[in-house]
Structures are given as structure tokens and as C-alpha cells.
Symmetry: C2
Subunit: 243 residues, 2 copies
DNA sequence: CAGTGGTCTAGACCACGTG
DNA sequence: ACGTGGTCTAGACCACTGC
């Protein structure tokens, strides 16, 4: 009679609280930038102590899902171009050390059935529909990155018909599609420019390029984007985030 | 009369406890792998509550300075080739996804006055003495990385005279020199192989290489190593740690 | 079994931001 | 002045480890 749930959940209470909160965020109970109830109200509502709620909130904060501000409250992280740059863009100027945010130019949006590498990276059914964005990114007016972005059509309906692609995408994902980005998995290699790359970036064929192969995952763990960037790092470098 | 210290420290108690513990670790009170006293003893000894000690210990655990094992105790992290690989070696096989630990071959150890880039990276006085290690690293018997390591002579006396350089260095730093590695700062670029690189790695001149420029810092924040790796990633990739 | 870290609670007080 | 998160305490009980 005392068992609150048919399935005995042996995980720590704070982990269960965390999951409950995460589910409510995904369901849109609290939108981007919204304030959550304070710790005591959440604790009372869930029948646990305030310290347990705090531990759950701290965990979600560490995973960049919430932000806490002393004296103000706890808020759902709002994706903006600024913090998107800060978290997901690891290119820096060699001299100044400043982070680089390239411009976007000549974006081409197409769609079609997922090819082998695409459905592997995005964990899709074979032949699922995807949207592809190809664009050139510039820095100080010079060609900098040739970028290909692949998205599952199911998650982003109507995106294929967009006329203009914004420079930063994750704020669009969150606000227009309710997809909240949590983490990325980046794999780097050095490659020589193919004839096609050389043309796009206005460099010599065979010139060394940094190839960044990135899969982005949402807070529920599903892959939501595959991005291939060929970077002509002239006076810039990629800085690995601290482990 | 009630003020325990002449200088009023306004930081949180747990931060002060953390600093005290860190100082004792650096002084060698507890060596690599040694167990700390339990939480209650530490709390009594420092005149704070057990929860406060716990918060300090948790912080040091997150920074990989301590490890906690339920039922056993809290221990100073012991650097071993295995966990050194796990934390600081970000090269993976494309097919298997397994982490790669290359061999070390033909190490040449020299010493001399620090050059411009060296004392900049290691924050040394102009003209300070450094030890340089140059070696070729192989994977599956094939040339893989041409590596140059530069160390401040002051921190590692006698290292310049070593006949054999072990494959992994950080365990040596900790056990023989009391230098505990805390974090790295890695900058990546794609470059074309120079004639010299091509020779060392047995590849064509101009072939694309991943250049990893890494500075390693000890737990007291001082730079202790500068490492330049030119990687011929044949069927492998660099995987960025999660931000 | 004894000893350790891990979880959970309840309550007090502090520091910060806003009105 | 008020409400928020941040710190700190004291104590109970659980889960794991090793003897």
C-alpha cells in the first residue's frame, strides 16, 4: 500500500526528480528562458526534501539544461547566437586568442533520402528523409569553411522550404522546433583539399584542411544534426574543450 | 577573540577546505594512491561539518585529483599508463572506435636554453634551461606521430640524463618528481608535411598532418610541459572531449 | 561484522537581485 | 522588505567493501 509506483525504481531519489523535471521541460511545461518554481515549491510538489531537489537542479545545470541565478531563480537555458558561439564553436584567432564566429554565405537547402553515411550518423531508418544545407562560411571576408549540415526531416518539418538559413541554427531548433541541443561529438582529421574543396574555398588543390565531423545530440539523447566542416585555418586554430 | 585567522577569508568554507587539502596533497602528506582520512575525521580535524568536507572532496574528485570508492575510502589519484591514456590521449581508430596508444621509438633527449616559443608556452624566464625530447611514435608498426616535448629543467632535474624515455610520462612526473598533472590546453591545426616531417614519418612532402599543440598544467596551475605532435592519421581521428 | 562513502532530511542563516 | 539561490550544520539510514 505504501509503494507509490508499480515499478520499483531503485535509482536515487534525486535522479528520479531530475528525470521528472527533464520530461516536463521536453513537454514544454517551461519554455526556453522560463523560470521554474523555487526549490521549496518543487520539493513540496514532489514530496521530497529541498536538498534533493537541489541536487537534481544542480545536475541539470551542469549539463547546460538549466541556469541558476542567485537572487533571481532557476531558468531553462535559452539558446542564443552568443552562447551557441561560446559552447559549440571552437575556432580561435592565433594572435588575439579571440573566438571566431564566421559568417554564412550562399546557403543551398535541398532534401532527399538519407544516404549510407547519413543514416548511420543520425541513427535513421534506411531511406528516411533528410534536409541538407550546404554553405560557405567566411571570416574577415575570406573563404573559411565549406560546411555541409544534414538534418532528419522528421524533426524539422518545413525547414527544407526555408529561403534564408540563419548563421546559427540551434536557437532556431529550440524556438521553432522544440529541439534542445545538449552535447556534440566531434571527430577531427587533417585532409588535403579536393578539386571541389579547392574551388569552393579559393585555395590550391591538396592544401591541408581541418575536417570536423560533428554529430549533435538533443537532451533526450537522439542525434539531431550531422555537420561536416572543411576548415581552411589561415591564422586560426581549433581549441579542444577541457576534458 | 573568535576570529580564527588574522586574514578574513570571505570565500565559502568548502572552498577553503578544498585549498587546505590540495596544499597537503602537494606537500606530499598523502602520496599517489594513498587514502585520505574519512570524512568525519577530516571534518573534526578542520572544525567544520562532514557535509562541508564532502563538498570539498567532491570538487577535488571532479578535477581528477581524488577518486572516491564507496565502501573503501578517498584516494589521491595515481597516474598510470592506463588512465593517462584514457584522459590525455584523444586518438581513436576509425573502424573499431578504440582508443589508440602508440609506441615510442628513437627518443632523443637534449637540453639547452629556452627559445622564444618555448618560454612563452611554459611561462619561463627568458633563457631558462629546458629539456627536449624528440621521438617518433608508431602504431601497428607504422610511423604515426612525430613528437617534440619540452620541459622546464627546474621541475625535472636529472631528466636530461635519462637513457630511456618511457612511453607515458605523467606517471613518471608524479612518482619521481612530485608533479601532478591536472589539465591540458590543446590547439589543433592542419598542416602540410615539411621535407623533414615527410622524412621522419615516411610520407610524401606536403601530405596533410594534424598538428596538436598542447600545454599541460599541474594542479597548482603552472605549465609543466609543452608538446607538439604531428600526426599522420591514417585510418584514425582525433576525438574532442565533451565540453 | 565494522568501516567507508552515498543518500536524504530538516532547518538555520547568508548573499544577491529586485521592487 | 522580500524572495531567490548558496552555504552550513546535524543526524539518520542505505549500499558497498573487505575482513
Amino acid at each position: 500500500m505504501d509503494q507509490p509506483s508499480p515499478k520499483l525504481d531503485s535509482r536515487p531519489l534525486y535522479a528520479q526528480v531530475r528525470e521528472l523535471l527533464l520530461a516536463r521541460i521536453q513537454m514544454g511545461d517551461w519554455g526556453p528562458g522560463a523560470a521554474l518554481p523555487n526549490e521549496f515549491d518543487l520539493a513540496r510538489e514532489m514530496g521530497v526534501s529541498q536538498g534533493t531537489v537541489r541536487k537534481a537542479l544542480d545536475g541539470l545545470t551542469q549539463d547546460h539544461i538549466l541556469v541558476r541565478r542567485q537572487g533571481r531563480g532557476t531558468f531553462v537555458v535559452e539558446q542564443t547566437p552568443a552562447n551557441e558561439l561560446f559552447r559549440f564553436f571552437n575556432l580561435y584567432d592565433n594572435k588575439s586568442g579571440a573566438q571566431i564566429l564566421p559568417d554564412s554565405r550562399d546557403a543551398r537547402v535541398t532534401s532527399g533520402k538519407a544516404r549510407a553515411l547519413e543514416f548511420a550518423r543520425l541513427q535513421l531508418e534506411k531511406g528516411a528523409q533528410v534536409v541538407r544545407i550546404e554553405r560557405l562560411r567566411t571570416h574577415d571576408g575570406l573563404p573559411f569553411i565549406a560546411e555541409t549540415i544534414v538534418l532528419p526531416d522528421l524533426l524539422f518539418p518545413g525547414l527544407a522550404a526555408m529561403k534564408y538559413v540563419p548563421n546559427t541554427l540551434y536557437d532556431l531548433f529550440q524556438k521553432s522546433y522544440g529541439v534542445m541541443v545538449a552535447r556534440t561529438d566531434e571527430r577531427l582529421e587533417a585532409v588535403g583539399a579536393t578539386k571541389r574543396d579547392a574551388n569552393a574555398l579559393n585555395i590550391a588543390e591538396g592544401a591541408p584542411l581541418l575536417r570536423v565531423d560533428r554529430v549533435t545530440y538533443s537532451i533526450d539523447g537522439r542525434p539531431v544534426e550531422w555537420r561536416l566542416s572543411l576548415c581552411h585555418l589561415d591564422g586560426a586554430h581549433y581549441r579542444a574543450p577541457p576534458g
